[in-house]
């Protein structure tokens, strides 16, 4: 296991790389869901406030 984590000496570069990329991926998921939630909340507010404007 320790050998695996050490990655032949490249650990200091390898694990941060994986962390950054997977971190960006997770960030995208969270960000996307939040932006959808915000849009839904805004739509709800608009409907409650004035009904659909045409």
């Amino acid at each position: 296991m320790r050998e695996f984590l050490a990655m032949g000496g490249y650990a200091a570069f390898l694990w941060p790389s994986y962390a950054v990329t997977l971190g960006v991926a997770i960030l995208n998921v969270v960000w996307a869901r939040r932006s959808l939630a915000r849009a839904v909340a805004a739509a709800r507010l608009r409907l409650a406030a004035g009904g659909a404007d045409s």
Partner: protein
């Protein structure tokens, strides 16, 4: 040939529902592929004879770089469709792409730099690929900056669409000129962002990663797309039933 299917694609309520239904069909396979590829790349694949275990950074750097370019292309194609056929949904697709692409471009730059340090001995080199990625980041930032600077949402959509199309035409030109520039100053072979010779056991995890991230992109895009459609469909009555469930 009936083009109804194409024009249906332009119908926001239809797309909204389709996006909602399709998301899990992309999200779960994406997760599975990425996890399998991680195992394949980190555990199963043998170390490279030149770069040792260091080459394994390719399993995150290559997908990030691939995403940065693929997403920009998708954004530009959506922008072109939006301009030509005047489809609001296409504008929504383009808008959804930008933050995804920009964040992966940053990831590509960071992982590229991290890969480079042990190989080159410096944290940054004006390697043609890294330089092109940096320029791509500026293209994304410009697009997002332009969108943000225009108040009228329709004008913002259409103006940034023109920029996206202009950008994509430029990407090959920029890449060519950067490669040309780099080759002039005879960068020694060690400078090129290490492309190890990939045997089959090393290659398949990479391909799985690329496919997995592509599916991941579609899944995230579908989620963002729904929000972007809602924002553009202020007056529609179909929103009521969607939003209140």
């Amino acid at each position: 040939m009936s083009w109804t299917w194409f024009h249906r694609l332009g119908s926001p309520p239809h797309i909204y529902r389709l996006a909602e239904q399709l998301t899990p069909w992309f999200a779960w396979p994406a997760a599975a592929l990425i996890l399998a590829a991680l195992y394949g790349g980190l555990v199963l694949a043998p170390p490279d004879y030149q770069q040792g275990d260091g080459f394994r950074i390719i399993y995150v750097h290559a997908p990030a770089a691939w995403m940065s370019l693929m997403v920009y292309t998708t954004m530009a194609v959506a922008a072109a469709v939006a301009l030509i056929w005047r489809m609001k949904v296409a504008h929504a697709v383009a808008a959804s792409c930008a933050p995804i692409g920009a964040s992966f471009t940053v990831a590509a730059l960071v992982t590229g730099s991290l890969w480079g340090e042990p190989m080159w001995g410096t944290w940054w080199e004006w390697d043609p690929r890294l330089t092109s990625e940096l320029i791509l980041l500026f293209l994304y930032l410009g697009y997002m900056g332009l969108r943000g600077a225009i108040e009228d949402p329709q004008r913002a959509d259409r103006t940034s669409a023109v920029l996206a199309v202009v950008g994509i035409v430029n990407v090959p030109i920029i890449h060519y000129s950067v490669t040309w520039w780099n080759s002039l100053h005879q960068a020694p072979s060690v400078m090129r962002l290490g492309k190890p010779q990939l045997s089959m056991p090393m290659l398949w995890p990479l391909l799985m990663m690329l496919l997995g991230f592509t599916l991941f992109f579609v899944a995230v895009l579908l989620v963002r797309l729904r929000g972007e459609i809602l924002v553009r469909e202020r007056s529609a009555s179909w929103i009521r039933e969607v939003v209140e469930t």
